[in-house]
C-alpha cells in the first residue's frame, strides 16, 4: 500500500510534464508540421465527433468481447486438458506457436475469405487472445508447490483432488495475468479485422476512413479512445488479478522456473523430433481440412499443397516467386533493424533504471499505455508524425518492440536476488561494479526472452506500417493480392509471414532455453 502511495507523485508529475510538453510541441508544430496536434485540439475534435464514437466503439467492443469470451473459454479448457494429458499439449504446440507468431494482419484476408465480415472480426479477436491465456493458465496449473500436492496425495487424494483443491485455485493469478494481456489483444484482433474493410461500425474502420482526411486530431482521438478501451480491459483484470494474487502468493518457497512449460527436458531426441513432426502435421492438417470443413471453395481457400504449387509449378509461378521474394527483401531488413534498435534501447534503459528505480516509477504510465495501445491505433499516429517512408516503418517496429522488451527485462532484473549486489558492494564495488558483475549477466537471459516475445510483434508492426502507409513489402503485397483476387498470393504471403515469425521465435527460443538452463543451475 505504502509503496503505491509513494509511487503516485512521480507518476502524476511525469504525466503533467508530458502533457505540457505535448501541448507546447503541438502549438509550435515542432514535429511533422501539424501531425502532432496539441491536446486541446484533440479534445475539441473528440467533442465534435462525439456522435460517431458510441457506435464505432460499440462495434469493436462487441466483437472484441465475444472473441475474448470464445478465445478464452477455448484457451482455459485446452490448458486444463494439457495439464491433464501433457502429450496433447506437445502435439498441439505447433498450433499455439503459430497463433503466437503469426502476424495477424496476414490472417485478415484469409479470415475474410472464410467467414462473414463480423464473424471474421470475432474470430480474429478470439485467435489473438488464445495464446496468452492458454500459456498463462497452463503455467499456473503446473507451477504449484509440490509440497501442497504431496499433502493432498498422502491424505489419500488423486490427480482430481489435486486439481480441485489446489491447481484450480493456485492458477488464478496466472490466469488473470493472461486475461490482462488478452483484453488489449482482443481489441487488436477486432481492429485489425476492420482494416480488412467492409465494416460500417468499428474503431478500426473509423480510423481507416479518417486516414485520408488530413485531420490529425481525429486520428489521435480515435487512437486515444481505442487505447482507453483496451486499457480499461487491462485494468479490470489487473485489479482482480492483484486481489487474487494477494491471497495466493505463497508464504512458502516458489518452485518452478521458466522451465515450467517444458516438461520435455530429458527425453530422447527421437521423441522430441516425433512430437515436432506431429505438431507440424497438426498445423498443416488444421489448415488443409479446416477449410474443407468450413465448406469454402478451393479456388478461394488454398491448401498447403496448392500454395506450394502456386509458387513452383503453377502458371506464373516464377513471377509470383519473384514478387514474394522481393517483398520479403523489403520487409525483413526493416524488421531486423527495428527489432535490434527497440531491444537495444529497452536493454540499456532497463539496466539504467535497475540502478535508479525512482525514474522507473515516472516511466510506468507510459509503459502501461504502450502495452495496451492497440497496434492498429498506434501505427497511423506514427505515420502521421514520421511520414510515409522507411522511417515510419522503423519507428513502428521500435515502438512495438521497445516496451514489451523493456517490461520483460526490467521485471526480470527486479526479481534478481539482492545477495550478489550486496556482495559486490561489500567489497567496495560501486553501482557500475554492480552493473558489470550482477546486472549485466542477469539481464542477458531476460533480453533473450524479450527478443523471442518481441520478434513476432516486430514483423506485425512492419506489415501494418507497410499496409497502411508505405505500400512496400509483404504488408502491401497481401493487400494488393486481395484487390487483384490473387488468392494464391494471399495464402502464400500469409504462410511466408508465419514461417518467418515461427523460425525466428524458435531460433531465439532455442538459444534462450540453453542460456536459461545454464543460469538456472
Amino acid at each position: 500500500m505504502n509503496q503505491h502511495e509513494r509511487r503516485w507523485p512521480a507518476t502524476v508529475v511525469s504525466l503533467a510534464v508530458v502533457a505540457v510538453i505535448w501541448e507546447i510541441v503541438g502549438r509550435l508544430e515542432l514535429i511533422g508540421s501539424g501531425a502532432f496536434p496539441p491536446l486541446a485540439h484533440i479534445a475539441t475534435q473528440l467533442w465534435h465527433d462525439r456522435g460517431d464514437y458510441p457506435r464505432h466503439t460499440l462495434g469493436t467492443v462487441e466483437a472484441a468481447s465475444l472473441g475474448f469470451l470464445i478465445g478464452n473459454t477455448v484457451a482455459i479448457m485446452l490448458a486444463l486438458a494439457f495439464s491433464r494429458w501433457p502429450p496433447l499439449e506437445r502435439v498441439l504446440r505447433g498450433v499455439g506457436l503459430t497463433l503466437f507468431s503469426v502476424p495477424f494482419i496476414a490472417l485478415v484476408p484469409v479470415l475474410l475469405i472464410a467467414f462473414s465480415t463480423n464473424t471474421a472480426r470475432i474470430v480474429l479477436a478470439a485467435l489473438a487472445v488464445y495464446f496468452p491465456t492458454m500459456v498463462s493458465t497452463l503455467v499456473g496449473l503446473r507451477q504449484v508447490d509440490q509440497r501442497l500436492v504431496d499433502v493432498v496425495t498422502v491424505s489419500g487424494g488423486g490427480e482430481l483432488a489435486v486439481l480441485r483443491l489446489i491447481r484450480l485455485r493456485a492458477c488464478l493469478p496466472a490466469l488473470f495475468a493472461g486475461l490482462r494481456i488478452a483484453a488489449p489483444a482482443a481489441m487488436l484482433g477486432a481492429m485489425l479485422a476492420e482494416f480488412g474493410g467492409g465494416f460500417r461500425w468499428g474503431l478500426g474502420s473509423y480510423l481507416l476512413g479518417s486516414l485520408g482526411q488530413a485531420n490529425p486530431a481525429r486520428i489521435w482521438g480515435i487512437g486515444l479512445v481505442a487505447t482507453a478501451v483496451a486499457a480499461f480491459g487491462y485494468a479490470v483484470f489487473a485489479l482482480i488479478g492483484s486481489r487474487v494474487a494477494g491471497a495466493t502468493s505463497s508464504v512458502t518457497t516458489a518452485t518452478a522456473g521458466p522451465e515450467a512449460l517444458e516438461g520435455d527436458g530429458r527425453e530422447p531426441l527421437w521423441a522430441k523430433a516425433g512430437f515436432s513432426l506431429a505438431s507440424a502435421a497438426v498445423v498443416l492438417g488444421v489448415w488443409a481440412f479446416g477449410l474443407r470443413l468450413l465448406g469454402i471453395s478451393p479456388i478461394v481457400a488454398k491448401t498447403p499443397l496448392a500454395v506450394v504449387k502456386y509458387l513452383t509449378t503453377g502458371p506464373g509461378a516464377a513471377t509470383a516467386r519473384h514478387e514474394l521474394l522481393s517483398a520479403l527483401g523489403q520487409t525483413l531488413p526493416l524488421m531486423f533493424l527495428g527489432l535490434a534498435c527497440g531491444l537495444a534501447a529497452a536493454f540499456v534503459l532497463a539496466l539504467v533504471l535497475s540502478l535508479r528505480p525512482a525514474v522507473g516509477h515516472a516511466f510506468l504510465p507510459f509503459a502501461l499505455v504502450s502495452q495496451t495501445m492497440p497496434l492498429p491505433a498506434l501505427t497511423p499516429l506514427l505515420v502521421l508524425v514520421f511520414g510515409r517512408g522507411v522511417l515510419a516503418i522503423v519507428m513502428v517496429t521500435i515502438s512495438v518492440t521497445f516496451f514489451p522488451a523493456f517490461v520483460t527485462i526490467a521485471q526480470g532484473l527486479a526479481q534478481a536476488p539482492r545477495g550478489p549486489s550486496d556482495l559486490v558492494q561489500a567489497y567496495g564495488g560501486n553501482s557500475v561494479g554492480v552493473l558489470r558483475f550482477v546486472g549485466l549477466p542477469n539481464a542477458i537471459p531476460h533480453l533473450l526472452t524479450a527478443t523471442r516475445l518481441a520478434a513476432p510483434r516486430a514483423l506485425l508492426g512492419v506489415m501494418i506500417a507497410e499496409f497502411l502507409a508505405t505500400g512496400t513489402g509483404i504488408g502491401n503485397l497481401i493487400n494488393q493480392a486481395r484487390g487483384l483476387l490473387d488468392y494464391g498470393m494471399i495464402w502464400a504471403v500469409a504462410a511466408a509471414a508465419v514461417i518467418v515469425a515461427l523460425t525466428l521465435t524458435q531460433l531465439v527460443g532455442a538459444i534462450e532455453h540453453r542460456v536459461w538452463r545454464r543460469f538456472a543451475s
Partner: protein, 275 residues
C-alpha cells in the same frame, strides 16, 4: 564411508523380533535409485528396519542418506525399485487411500488462500469426510492456536504455520504420522518448545510416528527408537533404542544418560565420515 560389520541393523530389532507382522512398521530390503543428468544416484540401498505400531521412530543421518526418500516411500509418494514396506500389514498406497496417514514437512505447505481452520480441514475434504467443527477446535487448542482460527498463513509466524501443519497432519486421526524435519527451519528455542508439544500430542493420540531429523537431541528426546543412516548410498548403520520414561521433561536433556546417548549417536554419525 564403509559400514562396519558390527553395525548391521539386526541387533536393534531383536527386542521386538517376535512382534506379529500385523503390528509392526516393516521396511525390508528397500532400494531406490534416482536417475540424474549423467548417471544414477542410489538413495537407498537394501534398507531394512522394524518398529512396533504405536511407537515413535526417528531417522537421523547426514544429508543425502535417503531419510526423506524413505519417508516418501512410507507415505506412498514414491515407489521402491525393490523391497517392500508395510505398516500393520498394509502397503503405503493402501494406507494412503484409506486416509490412515498424516504428514508434515519442513515447509508447512499450507494453502495460502485458506485460513487456519480450513487448512486443517483439507485432508478431510480430500477424503470426502465431514469436518467436525468440535474436532478442529480441539486440534487448534492442542497446537495452541486458539484465537487464530480465521488467520491466513501470511498473517502467521513461521512457528504458528508449522503448528497448523501439525494439526492438519492429525485431523484425520491417522494411525501413522510422517514428519519430515517439521521443525528444521525454526530457531532453536521454538524447536524445543514444539518438540515438547509434539510429545504431548503424541502421548494423547499415540499414532505410529516416523520423524526425519538431522538434530540428534531432537531424536533422543522424542523417539523410542533411532535409526542412524549413512549417505551415498543410503544405508542403515545402526538402530538404537531410547530407554527414557514418558512423558519426558526438558530436564532429561541435562542428564548424563541423555548426553551419553547423544554422544554415541554423534560418534555413529561422524565416525563414518572419518573412516
Amino acid at each position: 564411508m564403509e559400514v562396519p560389520e558390527t553395525a548391521r541393523p539386526t541387533d536393534g530389532s531383536q527386542d521386538h523380533g517376535d512382534a506379529d507382522s500385523a503390528a509392526v512398521v516393516r521396511v525390508s530390503e528397500v532400494s531406490r535409485t534416482f536417475a540424474l543428468k549423467g548417471g544414477t544416484v542410489p538413495a537407498l540401498d537394501a534398507v531394512s528396519l522394524e518398529a512396533p505400531v504405536g511407537s515413535f521412530l526417528a531417522l537421523i543421518g547426514p544429508s543425502g542418506c535417503g531419510k526423506s526418500t524413505l519417508l516418501r516411500l512410507l507415505g506412498g509418494l514414491d515407489q521402491p525399485d525393490s523391497g517392500s514396506l508395510s505398516v500393520a500389514g498394509a502397503t503405503p498406497d493402501e494406507l494412503r487411500r484409506a486416509g490412515r496417514l498424516g504428514v508434515a514437512f519442513q515447509d508447512p505447505a499450507l494453502l495460502p488462500w485458506r485460513n487456519v481452520r480450513k487448512n486443517i480441514a483439507l485432508p478431510l475434504q480430500v477424503l470426502k469426510r465431514p469436518a467436525d467443527p468440535a474436532r478442529i477446535d480441539h486440534l487448534i487448542d492442542l497446537v495452541g492456536l486458539r484465537g487464530f482460527e480465521d488467520a491466513v498463513p501470511s498473517q502467521l509466524s513461521g512457528g504458528m504455520r508449522q503448528r497448523v501443519s501439525i494439526a492438519r497432519a492429525l485431523v484425520t486421526e491417522p494411525e501413522i504420522l510422517l514428519l519430515d524435519e517439521p521443525f528444521g527451519a525454526l530457531d532453536e528455542i521454538l524447536r524445543r518448545q514444539l518438540n515438547l508439544e509434539l510429545q504431548r500430542i503424541w502421548l494423547e493420540q499415540r499414532p505410529t510416528t516416523v520423524l526425519v531429523t538431522h538434530a540428534i537431541d531432537e531424536a533422543v528426546f522424542l523417539a523410542d527408537r533411532i535409526v542412524v543412516m549413512s549417505a551415498r548410498p543410503g544405508r542403515v548403520v545402526e538402530i538404537v533404542d531410547v530407554p527414557f520414561e514418558r512423558p519426558r521433561r526438558p530436564e532429561v536433556m541435562k542428564t548424563p544418560e541423555f548426553h551419553a546417548l547423544a554422544d554415541r549417536l554423534s560418534d555413529l554419525l561422524f565416525g563414518q565420515g572419518a573412516g
